[in-house]
């Protein structure tokens, strides 16, 4: 569920074609904002859920449920009773039910009401999405929620892999969901001076990672979910395996709450490579964190160069945020899915809107035009979050 498509096929086709899903926000408050673009998901929940259930679903949970259903369908996995008994749900989100809590505040502070709808708490809580997924599919293993800002869903996927690897479960639904395009949230981000200045001539081109004229990130909403299984379980049931998750690194900058740290990023990437048992020259594609902030892109570039040395110049590195925006707690999952899809498609998506080279960003960012016919075997996806909570995932094509 993303601003560039609500299924994997459309999502990847749009990315590969360099089509941006960033637009002027449709909300009526858009006129009050300086940074008035965002990545909205084209989605109407009406008729998708029975009314009593819909009343309990904030938009982030709606996205999470839709994405989980798609993932389960794609995996053709049947959860029998013994699998249900241990199967877990691992979800990342930054702000959970941001829309619901803001609507509640509006009624109390602005509308002068003295109470809010009774569903406000169950809709808003960060673990609502994970709870709904486990209820809908009867998954009775751990239902866990990770909130590590921009790396939330990468952490969720990594931790799910560990739970499987360590034998706690044979299967898990893992990913992230976010829906925070509210006036209050956008204002808060605006105040941090990290949002992209709207490109008035071409709003869709407002997010320009690695380009010297980049001005910041564009907020977006959506969800990405994966079905993760132990290899034995997947082989036993003859699953179509998109890729094998071979490496996960999680580490902290331990330096500054919002400024990214090169040293921490280097360490996290190295941890993931070590976990994967992969040498730097085995990585064929990197989906960068690439938020399009001035400092962030330069630091990530430096970190990649430090780890990969000479090889860095030869790895295609793209920031798909240039097209789907920054989905915050969901972004790691969506970008990991984009990374995995490069393997089967033998194609890598571009970094869109890369107009002006920046001497501090001098890698192969696949500028503006996607590349087809690329032999991609091993992919890496970077997530570097506020709080210094970094996560890196590595996946590899699976050969039987």
């Amino acid at each position: 569920m993303s601003p560039v498509g609500n299924d994997c096929g459309t999502f990847f086709d749009n990315l590969l074609a360099g089509r941006s899903g960033i637009r002027k926000l449709s909300a009526n408050f858009a006129g009050r904002l300086t940074a008035n673009v965002g990545g909205e998901v084209d989605y109407d929940p009406a008729g998708r859920f029975p009314r009593p259930k819909l009343a309990l679903l904030d938009r982030f949970s709606q996205f999470a449920l839709e994405a989980a259903t798609q993932a389960i369908r794609d995996a053709s996995i049947e959860f029998d009773e013994s699998l249900k008994e241990c199967a877990g749900v691992f979800v990342g989100t930054g702000l959970g039910g941001a829309t619901t809590i803001e609507a509640g505040y509006e009624e109390i502070f602005l509308g002068g009401k003295d109470r809010v709808p009774p569903h406000t708490v169950p809709r808003t809580m960060n673990n609502a999405a994970a709870g709904h997924i486990s209820i809908d599919h009867g998954l009775r293993g751990p239902s866990l929620t990770y909130s590590t800002a921009c790396s939330s869903s990468s952490i969720a996927i990594g931790e799910a892999c560990r739970a499987i690897r360590h034998g706690y479960t044979d299967a898990a639904i893992a990913g992230g969901a976010e829906s925070l395009l509210t006036l209050g949230t956008i204002r808060a981000w605006e105040a941090l001076r990290t949002l992209a200045v709207t490109d008035t001539g071409d709003p869709a081109a407002s997010c320009r990672p690695f380009s010297k004229d980049r001005t910041g990130l564009v907020l977006a909403e959506g969800a990405g979910m994966l079905v993760l299984e132990s290899l034995d379980h997947a082989l036993r049931r003859g699953a179509r395996i998109h890729a094998e998750v071979i490496g996960y690194g999680a580490a902290s900058d331990a330096s500054h709450l919002t400024r990214p740290g090169e040293e921490g990023q280097v360490r996290t990437i190295r941890l993931a490579l070590a976990d994967a048992g992969a040498a730097p020259d085995e990585i064929d594609y990197i989906n960068a964190h690439g938020t399009a902030t001035l400092a962030g892109d330069a630091i990530e570039t430096a970190a990649i160069k430090k780890v990969f040395g000479e090889r860095a110049a030869h790895i295609p590195v793209s920031s798909t945020k240039s097209m789907h925006g920054h989905l915050m707690g969901a972004t790691g999952a969506v970008e990991f899915i984009a990374s995995i899809l490069t393997i089967g498609h033998r194609a890598v998506p571009p970094t869109a809107n890369l107009r002006v080279p920046d001497p501090e960003c001098d890698l192969d960012y696949v500028p503006n035009i996607g590349r087809e016919g690329v032999a991609v075997r091993t992919v890496m996806s970077n997530s570097f979050a506020f709080g210094g909570s970094n996560a890196v995932l590595i996946a590899r094509a699976f050969d039987r």
């Binding site: 029975p50 009314r51 009593p52 009343a55 309990l56 709808p117 009774p118 569903h119 169950p122």
Partner: protein, 82 residues
């Protein structure tokens, strides 16, 4: 329309169950109406009858319980001193 009938309609709409399935004397959970849905319907009921539910908890098990409570609150809260 009687208080009971109006309440049945409001709960049926919130719970998406047929209005005729809402037997007034049976426990709500047996009628596929969960407690969160009842809370949601209560807000509509307050608005419809221009009443205010008491802050203390009132035991409600059936549609009839709600109807009796609403009748009592309407009597207490209409016309009385504010």
């Amino acid at each position: 329309m009687s208080t009971l009938a109006v309440i049945q309609q409001l709960i049926a709409a919130s719970a998406e169950v047929p209005v005729e399935s809402l037997d007034p004397s049976r426990p709500l959970e047996e009628l596929n109406v969960d407690s969160l849905t009842v809370l949601e319907a209560m807000m509509d009921i307050e608005e419809k009858f221009k009443i205010r539910m008491p802050e203390e908890r009132v035991p409600i098990r059936t549609v009839q319980d709600i109807s009796d409570l609403v009748d009592r609150l309407v009597a207490e809260q209409s016309g009385g001193p504010k």
